[in-house]
Symmetry: C2
């Protein structure tokens, strides 16, 4: 009997924003897997750190930070092969995923490689979007409002068109695209309704009006724009 692969969402970063299901799976794991930067530093592992049992087998996937596909594909090929070996040996494998595995998560590359052959179970996690809304004290969407989620790396013209036609907007992966995004939002006249959030739920969390955001933003940053949610007073 092959083992089961669990893709476990860890939430936005605070150790107590894991779900009870995620915590139980990690505490009982014999094999865990997670992505890391080249060199081994892993945000996913750091979120779950206090729950990881001593003596667990760790499959570390060192994923190069590049927009080229091939080096990252190679890293997931190698990781998938190591995970498959453990599953074939009958071990369950708990893969640690920042946020939610299926929401901009690299776990889906493992899912594509392994789900045709193995039983894969997904444990959903708290996404950075609602964590940022909680941090900012800004309701995202109510009643029949629409929410548009946009990655910051999109071209300026597309960001402009999408933001213009949207109601609530969450812009992910802001990082080095901050100046471009801020320019678009200011041009459209929405700057006063936009909030900048970095490292939501962590000790280093920052929440600022977009107009006061720093010149350079970390990868884990977001802009929330709500054009006028109706609080139903």
């Amino acid at each position: 009997m092959s083992g089961i692969l669990y893709g476990v969402g860890l939430g936005p970063g605070a150790a107590d924003l894991l779900t009870l299901r995620a915590a139980r799976l990690i505490e009982n794991a014999k094999v865990i897997a997670y992505p890391a930067l080249v060199g081994g530093s892993s945000f996913a592992r750091s979120i779950a750190e206090d729950l990881i049992p001593a003596g667990v087998q760790e499959i570390v996937m060192e994923v190069p930070m590049t927009t080229e596909r091939k080096p990252a594909q190679d890293a997931y090929d190698k990781g998938a092969a190591e995970i498959a070996a453990a599953l074939d040996a009958g071990e369950n494998v708990v893969c640690l995923c920042e946020g939610d595995p299926f929401f901009y998560g690299s776990f889906m590359y493992l899912y594509a490689r392994l789900s045709p052959k193995f039983d894969v179970q997904i444990v959903p996690g708290v996404t950075s979007i609602t964590a940022c809304a909680a941090a900012a004290g800004r309701p995202l969407v109510a009643r029949n409002e629409r929410l548009t989620v946009l990655p910051g790396p999109l071209p300026e013209a597309e960001l402009r068109a999408r933001i213009e036609g949207a109601e609530s907007v969450a812009i992910m992966k802001v990082g080095r695209h901050l100046a471009k995004i801020r320019g678009v939002i200011a041009d459209l006249g929405f700057e006063a309704q936009a909030t900048y959030i970095e490292r939501a739920s962590l000790d280093a969390q920052v929440v600022l009006p977009l107009s006061e955001a720093p010149e350079s933003a970390p990868y884990f940053s977001m802009i929330l724009l709500t054009k006028g949610a109706d609080p139903w007073l």
Copy 2:
């Protein structure tokens, strides 16, 4: 000193998809509050049931199921007054919220009423969107893909325009709007890429291709449409 109001996301329904923070707050609560149907049945309370301490004070907000605003506003006015009385007496109040408090959550009506005067802390929860993606085994968005979240009650023409211009789409609150939404998706030629999910994460969970969805859907149902996420093989 006034107490703190906690708006606590409970996730999609499974008792073990609460976060550790939510569980700790509920286990230690002296006063809880939650919405219920008229008559007292509460999905939120049922999710948290096993964690609610004996002897806790319960503030039940009976919210009429209607699209008229006034009766619901009155229910939140009354609930907010009861919660304010507990906070003024120095008690913390834990408000139980299905899903996430700021993602189509009725908690925002309490937030609007009480946050000007009291300290309100939001505990984000797993949303139905990622719970449905997990149930369906369908990655939602990767890399620079866009996600559009649409409520099912939107007019047909607007649904059509929004779905046509979108990449990944999550349609919430399907319920009695199922036939309309299915018609739009079929007309646009996307039916084969659409999945119907009801009661994600609960024992009664249903996952079907949209073409096989039942004629009538419960309120807690969703359609996920992914036009072609690239699995990066």
